[in-house]
Symmetry: C2
Subunit: 224 residues, 2 copies
């Protein structure tokens, strides 16, 4: 046998066909189903399945119920479009929130992030995406008509646009500000600049440019 | 105000209390339930929840059913203790498997890994752990009595011990080989050495020592 044929044979032996696992169909189905979760591949799904079945069946049952209930009952708030199982979400129906402020965000995750800071007490409007002609997402899909009606009819003092600082987010913010220009509400956009706790050295140029353009005078308070 | 008081006030403003999220109870419950999965923290659980509810409710329902079914119906094979929803697993009941070979492994994941190679055609025995006095896991918990009965009564030619090459795995392997010494089956342990595709330079000392101790003569085949 020539040396080329030998190498070829050795390489071939590494590429032998994957065999189908001779396991239980229910376990296979659970592994396959877990892969619908973002960030979960075949190995993680297998590890999760074995963990649940070997050590934590109670949690598996609880998770199953939570999934079924949420998938069936959770819808969108009829005012701010955030995910909720009630007609109007807890934020929109909370009488202690400031009803003259609306913050526009792209997704429910943004609302959670803002709520987590505890520094904003107004209402929200969730676009559930951003303008994207390629994906067929236009003003109608983002509910911009409802937003405009709400800002026009209700007593809104300020609309804070908190779209992501990406190309699509910027375009969406620009479009919304054009739409709402005629209303009496003040339009604003959250500040872009150096993240708190960050070091100037490691901040990218675009962010630094924004930070300089958006600089503010330091107000020195009078203290005794 | 002194400069110390100023610094103190600034630091305090960063440590403001986390607010409770004013979200839907069903979503909260789903996020909490997802955290039972290994490797899933609060951020991943939130991302998974929003992904399922915003984009993939069908998968959420499928996953819910798969979890409920598996948690209720999957048990252990009465012969090899692997997870299965039938009394006897597909491997044990497959007439094409070599019934004179038993491979002892610590967990079902090990069986999947071995099956995936497609190079082993015998049966298995899954210990579901290793000897660990601290956790109260002794020979009874590992089903070693059933294993001994099986090796003694059935026509087993070889028992391949494939416990993990850890301290506990080695101790378990040693204990099992002591238990089975009286039977007529040949006892063997899978080889420990340099992983295929690895480079000697990066292999640890213990593995290299094993690799040298377990070296084998190269058999040169006669070719035309």
């Amino acid at each position: 046998m020539s040396w080329e044929a030998l190498i070829f044979q050795t390489v071939l032996s590494f590429l032998s066909e994957d065999q189908v696992m001779n396991s239980s169909p229910l376990i296979e189905k659970l592994i396959e189903s877990l892969r619908c979760l973002p960030g979960v591949g075949i190995k993680s799904a297998q590890r999760m399945t074995l963990h649940l079945l070997e050590r934590d069946r109670v949690s598996a049952k609880v998770l199953s119920d939570a999934l079924a209930q949420a998938a069936e009952q959770v819808g969108n708030c009829d005012r701010c479009r955030i995910l909720t199982e009630e007609g109007t979400c807890g934020i929109c129906s909370n009488p202690r929130r400031d009803r003259s402020l609306i913050c526009i965000v792209e997704s429910p995750a943004d609302v959670y992030a803002i709520e987590h800071t505890g520094s904003y007490r107004g209402l929200y409007f969730v676009l559930m995406g951003h303008l994207s002609p390629i994906d067929g997402i236009g003003p109608a899909q983002l509910g911009l008509e409802a937003l405009q009606a709400r800002v026009t009819e209700e007593d809104i003092d300020e609309v804070i646009i908190a779209c992501n600082p990406t190309v699509e987010g910027d375009a969406t913010a620009y479009y919304i500000s054009e739409q709402l220009r005629e209303t009496k509400a003040v339009l604003s956009r959250i500040a872009h600049g150096v993240p708190v706790g960050g070091e100037l050295e490691y901040v990218d140029g675009g962010t630094l440019t924004h930070a300089f353009a958006g600089r503010r005078a330091i107000e020195v308070k009078e203290n005794d």
